[in-house]
């Protein structure tokens, strides 16, 4: 039984507070919200943007891609020249499509 002397009371209060709160942690989303409010975009958002621009750069190697894109596309035979377009990219990565269209 607790006698509630000064020391016991202090111990009990300290124990009850720490017992319930010793493992509490804020959720990981809080930092994202802080970042969002201060910069307008989150680290995840920045990461996605960086990743996207990196992939774009890989997809369009500056000189090579430009040169390649200026060549006419075979399946687009009714036109002598195709400007860089999505068709170039599709043709480059989908060989089967090219053969199918060529025949």
């Amino acid at each position: 039984m607790i006698s509630h002397s000064g020391d016991d009371l202090d111990t009990l209060i300290r124990w009850a507070l720490s017992r319930q709160l010793r493992h509490v942690r804020p959720s990981p989303e809080v930092w994202g919200k802080i970042e969002l409010r201060l910069t307008g975009c989150t680290a995840r958002g920045k990461g996605i943007w960086r990743s996207l621009t990196r992939r774009m750069r890989g997809f369009f190697p500056p000189e090579e891609a430009l040169g390649r894109m200026k060549h006419p596309v075979m399946f687009n035979g009714w036109l002598s020249y195709t400007h860089p377009s999505l068709a170039c990219l599709v043709e480059q990565y989908m060989t089967i499509l090219r053969i199918g269209w060529a025949t």
């Binding site: 039984m1 607790i2 509630h4 009371l9 202090d10 009990l12 209060i13 300290r14 009850a16 507070l17 720490s18 017992r19 319930q20 709160l21 509490v24 942690r25 804020p26 959720s27 989303e29 809080v30 930092w31 919200k33 802080i34 970042e35 409010r37 201060l38 910069t39």
Partner: protein, 195 residues
């Protein structure tokens, strides 16, 4: 010449607008600030909002922070002020909601006797704390949970040390009485067991 506090370089980076420095300070202090705010407000979502607001204010007011001392008292001060603001605005509404939730909450599953006893003591202390004013609860939380001195609490709450001392004394007496009442309530049950 005084030594530079370990927070000093981070505070200086923060004053230059370095968000990563804020991230490092956040990682260092988020738990004690959150724990304190949660103990005062007893509301997880609100505690996270106050934590968020506290660090945003740190970033926006970095120029006012002294890089020669720990950031911790400053953080506590901002967080506690935000708790006071919250308290004055919505305390009454939250109390009503809290009572409604308690009435609707299911009865907890049975625990072994020792655990039940422990939980009951915890609950009694928390109930007593809840019925204290925010001013008194803040002092109790900062003193007993965070282990801060009267002087530190006086700085954080913006009140004279004597006021802190009297609030702590009042809160302790109140808790002592609440715990004594609980024991008296238990006595008839104990007597019944032995008859």
């Amino acid at each position: 010449m005084s030594e530079l506090h370990p927070d000093g370089p981070l505070v200086r980076r923060l004053q230059n607008g370095d968000l990563e420095a804020l991230g490092e300070l956040y990682e260092k202090y988020k738990t004690p600030v959150y724990r304190t705010v949660l103990a005062i407000t007893r509301d997880q979502e609100l505690a996270e909002d106050i934590l968020q607001e506290t660090f945003i204010r740190v970033y926006l007011n970095a120029g006012k922070i002294d890089d020669g001392v720990s950031l911790m008292p400053w953080l506590y001060r901002v967080a506690v002020n935000l708790c006071y603001t919250w308290s004055s605005r919505v305390r009454r509404l939250l109390n009503v909601l809290q009572q409604a939730i308690e009435q609707l909450s299911p009865v907890p599953a049975r625990h072994p006797e020792a655990i039940a006893e422990e939980l009951e003591w915890q609950q009694t202390v928390w109930q007593a704390l809840d019925s204290l004013s925010v001013d008194h609860r803040t002092v109790v939380v900062l003193h007993y949970l965070e282990g801060l001195s009267l002087k530190e609490i006086a700085y954080i709450t913006g009140t004279p040390e004597g006021t802190v001392k009297s609030r702590l004394h009042y809160a302790r007496e109140y808790l002592r009485k609440a715990l004594a009442d609980r024991q008296h309530r238990l006595l008839p049950e104990v007597a019944y067991d032995f008859t």
